[in-house]
């Protein structure tokens, strides 16, 4: 039997990457650097999904976020003048509200972690290793068909809305 790949070492490594990437996203002044930090964080996150034995979610994360959405982000950011953004203030004056919100979120996290352990399932869902994607597919198109279709309808509305807003004459 092989040793499990999902050791705590990798968990801490990936989590640290996600957190550092996230912090860099808000602290860097250069928008392209922010985007690259975000990509790093997203890739590390897909590593975390892999550790949860969810290869399908990890793959979709890479394709959609790192490969698709972030390319569009960069596409827009590259056209912004860097000189101007470097001079702009990074933080606005609502830091009091910000601290309150962060503290509330922190308290919520700690509360859930200490009191609400029984809210979480005891173990992860078990799929056979070779059947993970198939199981996800069967759940999506079986048990959760309705919710899935509603979500896709919502996305369709968003797409049509974007086309209508972007195009003056259709």
């Amino acid at each position: 039997m092989n040793p499990p790949v999902a050791t705590p070492f990798f968990f801490y490594l990936l989590s640290a990457t996600v957190i550092i990437g996230g912090v860099l996203v808000i602290t860097r002044k250069n928008a392209v650097h922010c985007a690259m930090a975000l990509i790093t964080a997203l890739l590390a996150q897909s590593g975390l999904y892999l550790m949860l034995y969810a290869p399908f979610v990890a793959g979709v994360q890479i394709i959609l976020y790192a490969g698709g959405i972030m390319v569009l982000f960069l596409f827009v950011i590259m056209l912004i003048s860097i000189e101007r953004t470097m001079k702009e203030r990074q933080f606005n004056k609502q830091w009091l509200v910000g601290i309150a919100a962060a503290a509330a979120l922190g308290v919520l996290f700690i509360g859930v972690y200490t009191k609400g352990r029984n809210l979480f399932p005891n173990g992860r869902m078990q799929f056979a290793d070779a059947q993970n994607t198939q199981a996800v597919g069967q759940l999506l198109y079986g048990q959760y068909m309705f919710a899935f279709e509603i979500a896709s309808l919502l996305l369709l509305v968003a797409i049509i809305g974007a086309v209508v807003m972007a195009k003056k004459r259709i």
């Binding site: 250069n30 399908f56 394709i63 790192a66 960069l74 590259m78 198939q134």
Partner: protein
Amino acid sequence: MHDLIEYIQSYLSSNLTPGGAGNWFWATVYVLAVFVGLSVAVIAMNWLERKILAHMQVRLGPMRVGPHGLLQPIADALKLLLKEDIIPEGADKVVFWIAPFIVVLAAFTVFVVVPFGPTHAITDMNIGILFMLGVSSLSVLGIVTAGWASNSHYPLIGALRSSAQMVSYEVAMGLAVVSAILMTSLHGIGFYGAGDAAAGASGTLSMIGIVQAQQEQQMWFIFKFFPLGLVAFFIFAVAMVAETNRAPFDLPEAESELTAGFHTEYSGFRWSLFFLAEYSAMIAVSSIAVTLWLGGWLRPFPNALQGPTWDLVFSLFPGATFVFLGLMTFYNVARMPKHPLFKIQTIGLAGFGALLGAIGLVLLIPQVRVRVNDIFWFSAKVAGFMYLYIWYRGTFPRYRFDQLMKVGWKVLLPVGLGLLILTAGLGMRTEIWEAVVRR
């Protein structure tokens, strides 16, 4: 020593990939073998492209360095390594430095799941094809950041074109891939496995699984639901040229408009990384096409030409090919000019021919023959695609950018969508039909 030999022999009877068996040693060996093989393939492609393109344009191509310019790629590589590595003054140094590595990493990582044979893959993933598409789509990030970090106009325009092009063609590519994946779920056992409940009726995303599905259905997916498979293959074949920024879709690096596009400011070693990544990405997408539609490692005509005789004939192919190449080289040795100045070149060419012939003879040994047959057919199909790439470059003029977008969004995407629906419909029909017949 004896243990080692036994260990290697025990591997020969294994039917798992190194990743599947969780064997570190063989995984490392495979990774190294794939890396070396790829590098050699890129070097060979470099020479072949210049040579074939030259002959298409009735030129000779490289002739000076080595016999028939055979050593030209090595001379080029040396030149690139010795060149000064320039980072422009206004460039964003860190991003400029990282960009080529992103491209190379993305281009090489995908080969983890490429199935050269049922056991000849580094590993087999449940999400194989998804992994390949995802990681190869990361290379555009490297291209975009390279163009931006150069802080120059041409690279920026090249990067913008590249990102727009890749995002547009990825959609059509994905639709074509999905229609092929739908075909893997058709086991001919009826609707939702109604014919044989134990087998289940789900398809697979695993690269090895996809080829095995073609083997099981005794049909390459390019011929499945004719002409649906063929159309899907065509969409993919167009989209993959656009994805790899090759002619006629090489707008991101259009020489006549943008000097060299996104890598204008790169020089020396960093530039050679882009070059390496471009060619290995070409090999990677070609191997996706081969796996999905052309039966991967399966030999041609598995149905029409069955039986042990044909198996033997086809298993002799790899060795025979190399022996033939060796003989062709010797024919050219005889045609070399007889002038004393060409003596060393003639000897060198003869040595190259002897090397090809020796490889061919090794491949004819029965034990080796059986093991490398699948690798040979896979590589031969990929090599066909590589030739197509060169052929496109020699044939088609470059598209204009609006034409490129029109082809992507107004032709390939609707056709891909229709194809997906038709494939799903036909698949349902055959499966329901099977279920009815079996009842």
